[in-house]
């Protein structure tokens, strides 16, 4: 009898030592498109709801407070992430190890007014390129979306940010997609996707324009369009 117990215990120890859980991390990618088209930076291949033909030469933006939410839990994935479509190193980040659970993803587009203060991020790579003059409220641009429209030499600058200190950042909460972290399954990969055309439609039809940083109406409209359907999140299967 005593011998049997020892055998059982030994077997249990050996079996449990073979089944080490994997540490699960999540790879978050950023992708960008215009409806069903890849971004065109040369010819005016894209058409917005207002019927304007345009291209995309510059797209830089800041996401902040990127986190996973679960019942009574939230896990901060990254405080701030800066995306520049012309810099591949900004088009992804890897999270730390995440505990098992079912989560939904949330982030803030831009920086909320508490954090969006001039010189608050002097050591971040975006400090010089994204700063928003104090004259117009101070802090940092949320987004710089630029290109040509109408003809090759007329440019639009869709720059969003804290016009006169007004907070036009918004929270994107993706309730449609559960991110299931299971250490038995292993690492996960998700894609945060931006449909650029949706900045200019739903609910507001927004025309392209060269200078909108002080245009409170356009900033509000872009914020509301952004909240509606600019961003989506997809899981990527191996």
């Amino acid at each position: 009898m005593k011998k049997n117990i020892i055998y059982i215990l030994l077997t249990a120890i050996i079996l449990s030592s073979c089944g080490d859980d994997l540490d699960t991390t999540i790879l978050i990618n950023f992708s960008h498109h215009v409806d069903n088209q890849a971004i065109s930076s040369d010819s005016l291949d894209h058409t917005n709801e207002a019927g304007e033909n345009y291209n995309v030469k510059t797209l830089k933006y800041i996401l902040s407070d990127i986190k996973l939410l679960a019942n009574k839990t939230e896990i901060l994935l990254k405080d701030i992430h800066y995306v520049d479509i012309n810099d591949e190193s900004t088009l992804f980040f890897q999270t730390d190890v995440i505990d098992n659970g079912s989560y939904i993803l949330q982030f803030t587009f831009g920086l909320d007014s508490t954090n969006n203060v001039s010189n608050n991020y002097v050591n971040e790579s975006f400090h010089a390129t994204m700063s928003w003059p104090e004259m117009m409220g101070g802090g940092y641009h949320y987004m710089k979306l630029e290109g040509a429209y109408g003809n090759d030499s007329t440019f639009y600058n869709t720059h969003t940010g804290p016009t006169m200190g007004m907070n036009h950042s918004f929270i994107h909460l993706n309730q449609d997609l559960n991110i299931n972290v299971d250490n038995d399954i292993g690492n996960l990969e998700y894609n945060i996707s931006m449909n650029i055309n949706n900045w200019y439609s739903n609910p507001h039809t927004v025309n392209l324009a060269p200078a909108i940083m002080m245009n409170m109406t356009k900033q509000m409209q872009l914020m509301q369009n952004g909240m509606t359907d600019v961003f989506s999140i997809q899981g990527i299967l191996d």
Partner: protein, 369 residues
């Protein structure tokens, strides 16, 4: 009886634990070059390797922390040596041209001629960049061909249209100079002078060329008031009316990146105009892009642009006011090509007056530099 035995045992245990250590004399300081791990009594014999005096940069308001290479930390002796080298024509083949020959202090370490002239009387192809707050630049030269100040300092010495020397020759000259041998010993603790330590010293000096004491800076610190014209210029600068801030924003007045600001048309680029960043990256998307210079001390650094094509600030403002030329890589920030900002004459003058408020006279007059 039993209790007595226990007491004896305890005493034996206590005494057996304590063993008198022999005194071993030597150097007990781990930082000394002759530190002895056996020594337990410092006999005052510690010998320390020579270390130059550390120098601390004070980060100006609104600037990032300066990134200094770990193998070239600033020292008082290194900076002084760099200054001497910067001003010494010994770096050129015929001992006639120093770094300061093209980067003149009175011009905020820029050249007041369109193109600098090398020792063989050959003109360069670009206007010599101003050296101001270079410790916060992430690339150097108009086309970004150098990534560090050390790397940048290597190039002019051997450039055939600049100093036209060889590094072997420069090293020989310096090693035959007893004063330099001593200065390099003091700065880097080396007995043989090589090119690596020459550029390290120059880079150290350049990192101290910090200018943040203009009337604008004093206004920011509420030490003085800018006049109405300067303030209007500031407002134009920092709104989309003048739209200078997108490339020349923050307290650094530059964005550490590259733009095509519409200087050349497709035709002139086709006919052989300078391709800028594309010469380095070989990427057609980078054609005619040049590094954004800081606008601090812009009053001192004429002529302007990579090729010194504009002699005055008025000409620069007029370029933006009329909108520049279209080419495939022109920056979308040049919103209306051929149309421009359409500022009034008064607004243009206000903008220039603000730009002149960025002049730091202390920077060019201070003998420490």
């Amino acid at each position: 009886m039993y209790k007595g035995a226990i007491k004896v045992l305890i005493c034996m245990l206590l005494f057996s634990c304590k063993k008198d250590l022999p005194i071993i004399e030597g150097c007990t300081d781990i930082n000394a070059s002759n530190w002895s791990y056996e020594a337990n009594y410092d006999d005052g014999s510690c010998v320390y390797e020579y270390q130059a005096t550390p120098y601390q940069i004070t980060t100006p308001y609104g600037f990032p922390d300066m990134v200094i290479p770990s193998d070239n930390q600033l020292t008082v002796e290194g900076i002084a040596l760099g200054k001497k080298l910067f001003n010494d024509p010994i770096l050129s083949a015929d001992n006639t041209l120093s770094c300061s020959g093209c980067h003149m202090k009175n011009n905020s370490f820029a050249d007041n001629t369109k193109f600098s002239v090398g020792i063989d009387n050959i003109e360069g192809l670009r206007n010599a960049s101003a050296i101001i707050n270079p410790g916060w630049n992430t690339s150097f030269n108009w086309d970004g061909s150098s990534n560090t100040l050390e790397e940048q300092a290597f190039e002019p010495v051997t450039n055939p249209i600049e100093m036209h020397d060889t590094w072997i020759n420069v090293e020989n000259k310096l090693n035959n100079d007893s004063s330099y041998l001593l200065l390099f010993k003091n700065a880097f603790n080396i007995d043989y002078i090589d090119s690596i330590h020459v550029v390290k010293a120059i880079a150290q000096f350049e990192r101290t060329l910090i200018s943040v004491n203009s009337r604008y800076d004093k206004w920011r610190k509420q030490e003085l008031q800018l006049n109405a014209s300067e303030l209007n210029g500031f407002a134009l600068f920092n709104t989309e009316k003048g739209d200078c801030f997108h490339c020349h924003g923050t307290e650094m007045f530059m964005d550490n990146t590259f733009h095509n600001n519409g200087l050349d048309s497709i035709q002139t680029l086709y006919l052989g105009a300078d391709l800028g960043l594309a010469n380095v990256t070989n990427d057609p998307e980078d054609i005619a892009k040049f590094k954004t210079p800081t606008l601090r001390n812009i009053e001192f650094t004429a002529p302007y642009m990579h090729d010194g094509r504009f002699s005055t600030l008025e000409e620069v403002i007029e370029h933006y006011n009329s909108g520049g030329n279209y080419s495939l890589t022109v920056d979308p920030l040049m919103k209306n090509i051929g149309v421009g900002l359409q500022l009034t004459n008064t607004e243009k003058q206000d903008l220039i007056n603000f730009l002149k408020a960025l002049s730091d006279y202390d920077f060019i007059n201070n003998n420490k530099r």
